[in-house]
Structures are given as C-alpha cells and as structure tokens.
C-alpha cells in the first residue's frame, strides 16, 4: 500500500464527514440498511453510534497495518477487519453494557455489510496515518449518525406522530413514512436540501458552479 502525507486538521476531517461528504446525503452509501432501520429517532441514533464505533476502530486498524496488506486482497482484509471489530464490540457490550446492548445489539450485527465503512477504509484509511484515519472515522460516523437521526425524526413524526417514542401529534399523519420505501423518499428530499444549501453557499461565496 502506498502512503500519502496530506495531513488535514481534525476539524476539516470531521466536518467533511458530517457535511460535504455526508455518507447518506452526499455519498448515498449504506442506504438499504439505513432506510430499513431509520423508522424512529432512537433507531437512527443507535445505528449511528454502532457505525461510529466500528468505523473508528476499523479505520485505525487498517491505517496501522496498511503496509502489511497485499493490494490484491485488500477488500477481504477490510471485511475481515470490520467483522472482527463488530464481533468484539458485540461481545464486550453484551458482557459489560447489557442495558445499551439490549437496545443496540441488533444494529451492531448489521454493520458488517455497510458499504460506507469499506469505502472509507479503501479511500482514506489505507493511505493516511492513524491519527487522520481516526478523525476521518469519527467524522464519517457522526455524519452517518446525523443523517440517520434526521431521517428517523421525519419518519417517526410523520409515520407515528411521535418523537423519541412520545406521542406528540396524537395521530399517525402518514403511515407510509414507516415503510422502507418512504425512507428513500425522505433521503431524496434531504439530498435535494443539501444540494440546495451547497448551491446557495457557492453562489454567495462567488464560487463557479
């Protein structure tokens, strides 16, 4: 594996994952599990935390061992690394954080197949140092979490008339929003919103479109 030395400040790596390269709204990765689960704010938050943990541990591991990974088997190695961390986090949480595990257990096991994690290992961690990979992992994990919480908020409010399980509307305005297909609908709307924000930002800054 080749290495590069374009070290960036942590805040830039963090904000990139949350805004300009948000895994859901900008990169459109890991959409199927995301829309399948994000029916409530709490589900979104739990899956977000689980992805954050696995992303950070996997990114740092790949970054540390990047010179020992043969280029032809890098994808199997990434999958193995992600699966190992998913298993470790699953076992540790089940043993020492049973309360949190009761809520998050199902989400953690889902993460092995998340494209966003593999993509960050391929695009970033296998080229950069461990510190940058850590911040990139945190940024991407937070970006995913923010995306999931926002989608969960819209879907829970419109589908169940509730927020964080508390009935706020007293009725279910659009049950359709609970269904997985509506997840894509919400993601589409959010993508349009992000594109619009980017457009406005660039216009104001005088950046050529």
């Amino acid at each position: 594996m080749t290495t590069s030395s374009n070290t960036k400040p942590p805040w830039e790596l963090l904000s990139r994952g949350i805004l300009s390269e948000n895994p859901i709204f900008r990169l459109a990765l890991s959409m199927c599990p995301a829309v399948g689960i994000s029916t409530t704010v709490m589900n979104g938050l739990m899956l977000g935390v689980a992805v954050l943990l696995v992303q950070v541990f996997s990114s740092v591991t790949i970054s540390l061992f990047k010179n020992q990974i043969h280029p032809r088997i890098r994808i199997p190695t990434y999958t193995l690394t992600i699966a190992t961390w998913v298993t470790v986090i699953d076992l540790v949480m089940a043993a020492y954080l049973p309360g949190a595990y009761a809520k998050m257990g199902i989400f953690i096991k889902l993460i092995v197949a998340f494209a966003i994690i593999t993509m960050r290992l391929e695009m970033f961690a296998c080229k950069e140092n461990a510190t940058d990979s850590f911040w990139d992992g945190v940024g991407m994990g937070l970006g995913f979490m923010v995306g999931m919480v926002v989608i969960g908020f819209v879907r829970e409010l419109l589908g169940s008339g509730a927020i964080l399980g508390y009935d706020v509307l007293g009725f279910k305005p659009l049950l359709f929003f609970i269904l997985p297909s509506a997840g894509f609908f919400v993601v589409g709307l959010m993508m349009a919103f992000f594109n619009w924000v980017e457009l406005v930002y660039k216009r104001r800054k005088g950046i050529q479109l």
């Binding site: 029916t39 032809r72 088997i73 190695t77 076992l91 020492y96």
Partner: protein, 298 residues
Amino acid sequence: MKDILNIVFRLTASCLMAAVVMGATFIFTDKAKKHNEHAREERTMYRLLGYGEGKPVPSTLALHQIYRYVITEPGRQLIGYLVPTTNAGKIGYTLVSLDLEGKMADRKTVALDVEQSREKEARDKAILAVIGPGKEIRFADHTIVVTDNGKRVAYLLGGKFPGFKTFINVMLALDQQYTTLGLEVLENEEDPGLGAEIEKDYFKNQFKGRTVDVLKGLQVVKEPLPDQYRQALEGRLADADVFRIMEQFKDKNIYALTGATISSRMLTDGLKGMVGKFVYRLDILDRVLKEQKIAVSF
C-alpha cells in the same frame, strides 16, 4: 507463484490475528455475558409475575425448571422431561421419558446440579450419559413452574414461532388456572414501526387476563383500538380504572396493529398453540408423576 504464496500467507496471518482477537474477547467476556443473560431472563420472569420495583420478590417464591426433549431411538420416539426432584432436601434431576401415547417409558436419575442444568451443553451431556448409546436427543423447550411456600402459583413458558418476517421468541406467564398473567416478546425481527410494535405494552398487554378458554378462541380484528383501553394497556390510568377496563375487554378479540395485521395474527396464533400444547402436556406429565410417585420439587 511467489505472489500467490505471499497472498496466502498474508490472508492466513490476517485470519489468525482476527481469530486471536475474537477468541480472546470471547474468553474474557463469556462469563459476564452469560451472567447478564441469566439476570435479564430472571428479571423478565419476575416482572411477568408482577414483581419489581415496589413489590419485592418474596423469599418463599421458587422457580423450578422443566426441560423437554425429544429422544429418538431405533424404532421409536420418546418425549423426555428433565424435572427437578428432591431427595433428603437436596435438589437433583430425573429424566422422565414418556411414549407418544403419554405412558411412562423410562425413568433415570441424571447427575446434574442446578447451576449445570442451566447450561445446555452440560445438560445434554448428562442426559446422553444416562440414556445410553444409540439414542439421540433434541431439546424442544423449557417451562418454569413457580411455587410459593411449596404451592404452585404460576407457570412461565418460553416459546418460539413464526412471525411475518422470521421467528418471534416470547415468554408467557400463566397462573395455576392457566389464565395469562403477562407476555414478553423477547426477540423479533418484524418491520420496525409496524410488526415490531408487538413488543409494545398497548399490544402485548391485550393478552393479559385471558383464560385458557378465551385464549383458544381469540381472533384478531382490524378495528381501531379504543383510546381508554389503550391507556389502560399502557398503565396510564389509576390501578382501579385499569382493572375495570381490562375486565371489560377480557373476553374481546385482539385489536390488530395498524399496518401489521399478519404480525398480530401470527403472534396470537402462536400463543394459542403454545398454551394449548402446554396445558395438554402438563396434564399428562402431572398424571405420570403422580402415578409413579416421583418426588418433584414443585
């Protein structure tokens, strides 16, 4: 060739490292995980029996586990019940085997203590050791008989049956007359926000207070859940009001979850089957235990 060997070596090394990390984590966490699972199971059981914060578990209450096995031997199949027995005040275990007509076929003392009996592997090994070679066993389910001062007060049944997506794993509490005391959905993979609502109080508590005869005839109806009933199911009213409303609805059908009628029906049918079979099997087991004068702890 050199490249292939290099890849094989690196991939093998990666797999070994992953195995070491996962294995070490498993060794360090296994005991705590099992302890948590057992504690969680116990909490669920006591909650279903009505104990918890504000109502401590009495010291006279005891849980007696019965494990049911299917024993296959050449030419016939038996149903084996691993039951706790008392001998000079000490708890031991006896495997009571019945033929498919419910008649006593065999009886063996199994060398197990209470702690070992909770571990499936230790249990299976001890049973295989006493039934002899050439036979196979398959664990079917387990039931808990609850006694207070030696008198039976309730039963806790574990069950797993098909849902809309995959399997639904439940624990059900019945009183000594087989009326439902409570239901807990332990695991399910139904659709979040739709079928997964089976674990919510406003759905699962609809089964509370149903006698075995009412339960057998329960149907699922696609009607809106009355608001007052929902409040009672969620425990948002005073105890007296909850009791009054639950009494009004105790013979009514189950209100289906909005957008998840199949999940509602699968759970209802699963419980009906579970309770029906349990009552039938327990009657047979009790008769055999009495006839054979087996000194069970319950």
